[in-house]
């Protein structure tokens, strides 16, 4: 009982949470609901309707209900394969962003000097400000056959022919990871920062090595951050368009690329809408499942 002094979550909130009666604060949900109803659900509804129509009712007079866009998706392996590639790239990007983002977030959360913290923050935020298109071009400069890395390697005689660093899934994932690591770091740093450093000290006093102390204490306690960060990165990377199209070359075909093609050069917003709905449904399902599994592991509710 006496050890409960540092308790941050009041018992009250836990108690009132159970009773399902909306409080006055609940009304504050309305601005957001209104925003989403008008500027997300309504457009989504339009896409939903379009996905089941033969054309755009705005200018095509004889539109009718059809399932052909969905049938088309399943009739050609190309589309399910693109979905699979989208998810695979999303998963690998998330994993890479987590592996790179965690150490940096840890350093950031544990940096005691204000200057060091500010510098790290700038280093993390700067890539987000470069602009997605320009950033992708920077990666092309680095990874292409006549790019910085290959030019250097060939000049040093390490390799005779340029390595295949882009125009494939590898290059796509590298560039996507770079773009989304900042989101991972900033999400994680907040959570790691809240894990009491003394807990690691306690673990070390019990004979754990630095690594063990981290693995046994900080890592599990930062699980909610890992969950939140990876959901964010996954969501962002499966809907990315510019990077896969520029980095992927002929090897990579993702759903957002197909959607863009359908909209901008096949002029078939109906099929694009169907593809979008399929991607959204699959990713929402995955995200909810992932949420459930990890929330179970973490033993707490994470939103």
């Amino acid at each position: 009982m006496a050890s409960n002094t540092a308790g941050r979550v009041s018992p009250v909130s836990a108690q009132t949470r159970r009773g399902r009666k909306a409080t006055a604060v609940g009304w504050l949900i309305w601005p957001a609901l209104l925003l989403f109803a008008l500027f997300f659900l309504l457009p989504l509804g339009v896409l939903g309707v379009m996905a089941f129509l033969s054309g755009n009712p705005v200018n095509a007079p004889a539109v009718h209900f059809t399932l052909r866009h969905f049938q088309r998706f399943f009739a050609d392996d190309l589309y399910p394969e693109a979905l699979w590639a989208t998810l695979r790239i999303g998963f690998l990007t998330t994993l890479a962003a987590l592996l790179l983002g965690y150490p940096l977030a840890h350093l950031m959360a544990r940096a005691h000097s204000r200057i060091a913290h500010a510098l790290l923050l700038m280093a993390v935020i700067a890539p987000m400000l470069t602009g997605i298109v320009v950033r992708t071009f920077a990666w092309m400069t680095l990874l292409q056959d006549r790019g910085v890395i290959n030019t250097t390697l060939v000049a040093l005689g390490v390799t005779e022919r340029p390595l295949k660093l882009m125009y494939n899934e590898f290059g796509t994932i590298v560039a996507l990871t770079h773009i989304y690591v900042p989101f991972m770091v900033l999400t994680l740093a907040g959570v790691i920062g809240r894990v009491d450093e003394r807990l690691e000290d306690a673990a070390r006093s019990l004979g754990a090595t630095r690594w063990q102390a981290f693995r046994e204490v900080t890592l599990p306690l930062s699980l909610p951050g890992i969950l939140a960060g990876s959901l964010l990165v996954f969501a962002l990377s499966i809907s990315a368009y510019v990077t896969p199209v520029l980095m992927g070359g002929t090897d990579v075909l993702t759903l957002p690329m197909l959607i863009y093609q359908q909209v901008s050069s096949s002029f078939n917003p109906n099929f694009a809408g169907a593809l979008g709905l399929i991607l959204l449904a699959v990713s929402l399902t995955l995200v909810i499942a992932y949420n459930k599994v990890l929330a179970g592991l973490a033993g707490e509710e994470v939103s």
Partner: protein, 365 residues
Amino acid sequence: MPPSPVNPLNPPAVLPGSASVRLQGLSKSFAGTIKALDRVSLDIGAGEFFALLGPSGCGKTTTLRLVAGFETPDEGRIVVGGRDVTEMPVHRRDMGVIFQSYALFPHRTVAENVGFGLRMRKIPRQEIDRRVSAALAQVALTGLEGRRPAQLSGGQQQRVALARAIVIEPPVLLCDEPLGALDRRLRQQMQFELKQLQKQLGVTLLFVTHDQEEALALSDRIAVMNAGRIEQVGAPAEIYERPRTRFVADFVGEINIVDGTWSGGRLLAADGRAMPAPPAAGRDGPGAIAIRPERTMMTAPPAGLLSGRIVTTNYLGGQTLYRIAVDSGASILVKDGRGEGNSVRAIGERVGVLWRAEDAVVLEA
């Protein structure tokens, strides 16, 4: 409460704001299942130092939160200073509250924390400054006005919380385990200061604790709570010396409880021997008495009422606490050595145990 021109350093004998607190049949359930509080009634006099004592989950904090107004009771009334405040929102109740973890505003300085309640009362800036300085002087924190809570030690934070609560000159001060986070030395010092301050201000103080020593040392009266009900209300000596129920006896201090059967006004042990106890006419059936360790005595083995072997000895400085495994299988505590100078007995020694009938307390069934 209108701002009163009272200087906390030199309070008049009776503060105008000091108020009685009356709880009438308070019940409270959470989420429809757990009955946190079950028809609790209490009368706390104006200027009284009153402790709610009990184990965690007994309902004492819920009681405090109801008085403060953080929760609304399902049933019952709360009357403060003769006014029914049951439906009154928190911010109009004028209660001083000291939280377990102090709940100091981390984004405000010490002075801003202490002046917060005064600012809410729209008291002029200069008056606020004056009263904040006075309150900080009173808790010996002068000079720390500009610090943030995170830059203070635990004891200092506690004092800020105290100053913040008293500066608004509340008629009632509510404290939820206010000393729980402090180390033993600091805690004793703060206990002393809190008690002194309370007497000085004449404020009614309702105090929640699970620490029976603290409750006994500080309070004018104590209510012992268990499972949402009040088990016993009384002065510390009464609670200690005359516990009415097995729960109170067990919870407050160390005590020996001897079970047996009442028969003809006497308590008979399992082996049929009568235990020394005050005569209890009219009782029959299973029952128990309680005897404090300091009221028991050791003798040579055959002379005692019970006999057994010493299992552990705890030297307490001037006194020694013995745990004796008696032959019937139970164990009994004996505190010995009130100035008689006899040497400490050894573990394993066989002894007899005795007490006087009038030192035993009859527990309610």
